[in-house]
Symmetry: C2
Subunit: 585 residues, 2 copies
C-alpha cells in the first residue's frame, strides 16, 4: 500500500537522459555537487512514503472542515506539514539570498512528483508557498520581498492565489473585486473569490493572499487588472504578526476529490492590500506564478499516474485469476489485455515525467545568469512552448492512467479501500484548474504559435530533428525513431496550417486547438521515448523494460498522430452549422 | 436540474429508424397498438423526472447503510420504488402469462434509459427483478416459476445475482460456495459472495437470491457449477412468507459511486436452496440473466451519457464567459472547443442509444413465436454479436461523456452541487461489472467470432452492406456513407485476421481484442448514424441537428478506424517481451 517513488527512473532521467550533470555545471548551481541528486531523491522518497502517504486516504475520508469560522485540516496534516517545513523541503529551489537552497527546479520537480504522488491534497499548500515566493521575489518591492519571501520560501507562511469569481472563471478579464487606494500608499480591497485553495488553514499562522482586483476607473478587461498582496494578519512595526485583516472563508466546496485540500469561498471586506508590480499589469505579474502552477499541475498528473501504475502493477502480479481450471490460477499480469493496459500506463506516464523534467531544466537554464544569451533564449522558448502541452497532457494522462488502474483492480478498484478510485477523483480537477485544458490548447495555438512567428515551435522541432539525426541508423531504437520522424512531419505540416489559419481564419484554428495540442504532446512524448530508449543501455531489467515500452509506444500510440492531424485541420464549419440556441442540439 | 428524458429521440428511433411499427405488427405484440409507444414514453419521462430523479443526489449523499444487521436504503427510495411498482413499470416486457404487459423489450429498453438516467442506484433493483424473472421463467420448474415469476415480474419481490467470491471474479470457475443435496430434493447452501447488488434492502419483503455454487464432487472449473434459488424467506405451505433462511449482509462496500445501491458481502449459512436447471449447467442458465444485465449496463452508459449531455448543453448555453471585454460575455456554447465537446457527446451517445434499441428489437424478434425460423435466427445472431460490443462501448461512452460534462462545467463541475461529478463516479463501474470490458472483448473475439465460423459477424456486416447499398448516392448522407463504407472494409479485414489468429495463435488474438471490439463498436455506431441521418428528413431543428451530428461523427470519429485496425493486429509479441515477474516493469 505504501507509495513508492520512482527513484530509479528519476535518477536515470536526470543523470542519463536530460543532462542533469551539465546543469549542475552551470555557474548558478556550482555551489552544489551533482551527487546531491541521489541523496535528495532518496530522502524525498522516504518523506513521501513515511510522512505524507499515510495521511492520504484518511485525509480523503475526513476532509477539511470549517469549525467556528476557521478551516481545520484533516488529521495528520499539521504534523506532516511541520515535518516538511522542518526538514527544509520548502526552499529546495528557492534563491539562496532568501534562505533557499538554490538547487535546480529540475530537482524540485522530481520531489514535487513524490509529494503529489503520496498525497495530492497535501501538495497543494507547498505549491502555493513556492509559487507566491517566486512571484514576490520577482515583482514585489524590496521592502515587501524582504519580509515575505524568506517566510514563504521556508514554508513558514502559507499563500493563496485568488483569481476566480463567480462570473469570472476562464474569463479573467471580468473580475469585479475592487481595491481602492488608501492615503498611506496601500489599498483597501473588497470582494469575493471562489475556488481558493487553502484559502484558510491551520498549518501556518500567516497566509499571504495574492489577489487580482480592479482599481477604481480601471479599463475593462484584462488590461484593467492589478495584483495585490493581502496578508491574513498585518505585520506589526516590530515585524511580528498583528491584527487580522478582515477576510473570511465563507464556505468550503464539497468536491469530487482533493477533499483534504480546503477549497474556499473567500470574502475580503476592506482588507489592507499592497499592490505588487505596476498598476493594471497584474495579470502579467501573475503569470510568473501561473507558469509555476501549470508545471506543477502537470507534475500532479504524472505523480498520480505513476502512483497508480505502481499500484496496478503490484496488484496485477499478485492477483491470481484465470488459466487452466485444473491448476492454480495465474497472476492477471499474464493475460495479454492486462499487459496491454500496464504497458499503456507506462507508455503514457514515463515520457511525460521526462518531458516535465525537461521543461524544468529549460527554466533553470533560462533563469541562470551564466550561459550565453542565445542559449537562455532558446531554453526559455522551448519551456514556453512545452508548458501548455505538459499541463494538458499531464493532467489528461494522470486521469487516464488512474482509470486504467481502477480497471485492472476490477471490482476492488471501484471500492474505496483499495485507494485507486481516490486517484481518479483527486486528479480529475487537473484538466480544469490553472486554465482548463481547452484554454491551454487555445493558448498554444493562438499565443505561443501566433500568426507569423513560430519561434517557439522551431526551438522544439529543431531539437527533435537534431536527436533524430544523432540517433539515425541505431537499430535498437529503430521503431521509435521512425515513429517520431513520421509524427514530427505531421506536426510540422499541421503547424504550418495553424499559422495560416491564425492569420486568416482564427475560428478554424480554435476549432482544431485541442487535437493540435494532443498531436504536439504525442510527438513530444515520442521524442522523450526516443531519448530514453537510446540512453537505456545494457541488459538490466530496467533498461530492457524501457526499450520494450518504447516499442510499445511506437506501435500502439504513435499511430494516433494521423488521426489527430486530421482532427486538427477540420476547421469550424461543422461545429458552426448548429445554431447558437439550444433547440437544434 | 430536472432530468429530461430524450423522448423525441427515442420516438424517432423506434418509429422512424429502427422499424418499431413492424415489430408491433408481429403476432407477439399484436395485443398492443403502436400508439402505446408515445404514451409509455411520455409517462416514463414523467416518472423519471418527477419520482426518480429527486432521490438521486440525496441518495448519493446519504448512501445505503446497515442498521441492526439489515440494509436501510437512502431516504425516498421506499416511496419511489413503491410508486414504480404500483404504476406497473416492473412488468412492462414480462410475459402476460406471468402478469406482465408483454410489450417489446425495445420499449422496455427505452424506459430503462430513463430510469437509469434519473438515478442509476435506483435502477439496479428493478433490473435484478426483471433479469431474475426472465431466468426463472426460462429455467425453473413450473412449481417454482408459478410462485416466483409473477412476484418478480410485478416487482413485489426483489432479487440478486450472486456470482463473485473473493478468489473468483472474472474467473467464475473458481467459486467455492457449496450446495449439498438434502433429503427433500432441495439443497443446503453455504458460502460467501461479494459485490451483491441489493443483497439486502428494505424495499421488498422478499429477496430471491440466484446463486452460483458447486455441488459435492462436481468437476473443477465452470463445468461443475450449478444455479440455485435461495429465497430470503421460505414460502409457507399456504404460499405466504415464512421463516428467514439464514443469509446475512455482513458489510456494505464503500464505493466510488452508486452509493445508494447497497453492494453487499453476503454470507449464506446452510440456507435452503432450490436448484434451477440442470446440474452442472448453472453457468449457461445464468447467461439468460447475464445477457439481460449486459444490455442494461450498456443502457446505463447511454442513460448517464444522455443525462450528462443534456446538463452540459443547458449549462453551456446559459453560462456567459468570454468574448469582447467591452461587451456582455457570450454563452460558452459559442466557443469552438466547447461546441466540439458538445457535439462529441452527442456523437458518442446517440448512436449507442440506437444500437441498444436495435439489440433489444432483435431480441424481441428472436423470441417471438411467429416470424420464420431464419429471421429469428438472424436476429438472434445479430443480437449475440452486438451484446458485448454494446456493453463495453455503452459503459465507456457513458464515462467519457460524463467526464466531458464535468469539463464543460469547469470548476463547478468538480463541485458536487452541480451533480455532474456524480455521473462520473456512478457510471465508472459499468466498464467493470457484468464482465469487465476486457472480458467482453475476449468474448467477442474468441466465442462470438470463433475459429472458423463468423456467422454472427456476417449477420452484422450483411445488414450494414445492405444499408450502404440502399443509401448509395444520396447526397445528404454522403459523408457518413463513405466513412461507414471505409470503416466496414477495415473491420472485415481485421475480422479475417482475428479468425486466423484464433485458429493458430490465440494469444495474438487476445492481445488485439480490445481495439478490435472498439473498431466493431465504431463501425456499428457509424451504421446507426447513417440510418439516423437518412431518416432525419425535413428542416426541423431536430432533423438538422441529427444530420450535422452525423457529419461530425464521420469527420471526427470515424477516422479512428485506421488506428484501431493497426492496434488490433499488432499481436502479443511486444506485450510478451517483458518477463512475467514485476522486476522489468
Amino acid at each position: 500500500m505504501t507509495y513508492r517513488a520512482p527513484v530509479e527512473d528519476l535518477q536515470f532521467l536526470i543523470g542519463d537522459v536530460l543532462g542533469g550533470r551539465e546543469l549542475f555545471a552551470l555557474e548558478a548551481f556550482r555551489h552544489a555537487d551533482f551527487e546531491v541528486v541521489e541523496s535528495v531523491l532518496a530522502a524525498g522518497a522516504r518523506l513521501a512514503a513515511e510522512v505524507i502517504e499515510p495521511i492520504n486516504q484518511p485525509g480523503d475520508q475526513a476532509g477539511a472542515r470549517i469549525v467556528n469560522g476557521a478551516v481545520v485540516t484533516a488529521p495528520g496534516f499539521r504534523e506532516a506539514y511541520a515535518r516538511y517545513v522542518r526538514d527544509g523541503w520548502s526552499g529546495l529551489d528557492m534563491p539562496r539570498e532568501y534562505g533557499g537552497q538554490g538547487l535546480p527546479r529540475m530537482l524540485q520537480a522530481a520531489i514535487a512528483e513524490m509529494v503529489n504522488g503520496a498525497c495530492l491534497s497535501f501538495g497543494m499548500l507547498p505549491l502555493m508557498c513556492r509559487a507566491s515566493a517566486w512571484l514576490l521575489a520577482e515583482h514585489a518591492s524590496a521592502a515587501i520581498a524582504t519580509v515575505y519571501v524568506p517566510k514563504l520560501a521556508a514554508g513558514e507562511w502559507g499563500a493563496t492565489i485568488c483569481i476566480s469569481e463567480p462570473q469570472a472563471g476562464s474569463d479573467v478579464g471580468r473580475i469585479q473585486t475592487l481595491a481602492k487606494p488608501a492615503d498611506d500608499g496601500s489599498y483597501r480591497l473588497s470582494g469575493s473569490k471562489i475556488f481558493i485553495t487553502y484559502g484558510d488553514q491551520d498549518l501556518t499562522e500567516q497566509i499571504c493572499h495574492l489577489v487580482l482586483a480592479r482599481t477604481p476607473g480601471a479599463p475593462a478587461g484584462t488590461r484593467g487588472i492589478s495584483l495585490f498582496l493581502v496578508p491574513k494578519r498585518l505585520i506589526t512595526t516590530d515585524g511580528g504578526l498583528g491584527a487580522h485583516n478582515g477576510m473570511r472563508a465563507l464556505r468550503l466546496e464539497h468536491k469530487m476529490g482533493l477533499k483534504a485540500s480546503p477549497t474556499c469561498v473567500m470574502q475580503y471586506a476592506d482588507c489592507v492590500a499592497y499592490r505588487i508590480g505596476e498598476l493594471h499589469r497584474g495579470l502579467s505579474a501573475m503569470f510568473t506564478m501561473v507558469n509555476t502552477m501549470r508545471l506543477e499541475v502537470a507534475l500532479q498528473g504524472v505523480a498520480i499516474g505513476g502512483a497508480a501504475t505502481h499500484r496496478a502493477l503490484q496488484y496485477a502480479t499478485e492477483r491470481p485469476q484465470g488459466g487452466d481450471p485444473e491448476r492454480a490460477p495465474v497472476p492477471i499480469s499474464e493475460h495479454p489485455d492486462v499487459r496491454r493496459m500496464l504497458l499503456l500506463m507506462r507508455a503514457r506516464i514515463e515520457p511525460l515525467r521526462a518531458l516535465l523534467l525537461e521543461i524544468a531544466r529549460n527554466l533553470d537554464v533560462a533563469a541562470a545568469a551564466a550561459p550565453e544569451a542565445a542559449t537562455r533564449a532558446a531554453a526559455a522558448a522551448l519551456a514556453e512552448w512545452l508548458l501548455p502541452i505538459g499541463k494538458a497532457c499531464g493532467a489528461d494522462a494522470g486521469f487516464e492512467v488512474a482509470n486504467l488502474a481502477v480497471q485492472i483492480f476490477g471490482g476492488q478498484g471501484y471500492v474505496s479501500d483499495a485507494g485507486v478510485e481516490q486517484y481518479v477523483r483527486d486528479i480529475r480537477v487537473a484538466s480544469i484548474y490553472e486554465g482548463t485544458n481547452g484554454i491551454q490548447a487555445l493558448d498554444l495555438v493562438t499565443r505561443r504559435l501566433g500568426r507569423d512567428s513560430s519561434k517557439r515551435f522551431d526551438a522544439f522541432a529543431s531539437r527533435i530533428r537534431a536527436d533524430l539525426k544523432r540517433l539515425a541508423g541505431q537499430a535498437e531504437v529503430g521503431q521509435i525513431h521512425a515513429a517520431v520522424g513520421d509524427g514530427l512531419t505531421r506536426l510540422e505540416r499541421c503547424t504550418q496550417r495553424m499559422v495560416e489559419l491564425n492569420a486568416g481564419s482564427p475560428r478554424d484554428a480554435a476549432a482544431g486547438a485541442t487535437p493540435y495540442l494532443r498531436l504536439a504532446g504525442l510527438v513530444a512524448c515520442g521524442w522523450m521515448w526516443l531519448r530514453m530508449a537510446a540512453a537505456a543501455l545494457g541488459d538490466s531489467d530496467f533498461a530492457r523494460g524501457k526499450r520494450i515500452a518504447a516499442v510499445f509506444f511506437a506501435e500502439q500510440l504513435m499511430p494516433e498522430a494521423a488521426l489527430l492531424e486530421t482532427q486538427a485541420c477540420l476547421g469550424a464549419a461543422t461545429l458552426d452549422a448548429l445554431a447558437p440556441n439550444a433547440s437544434q442540439w
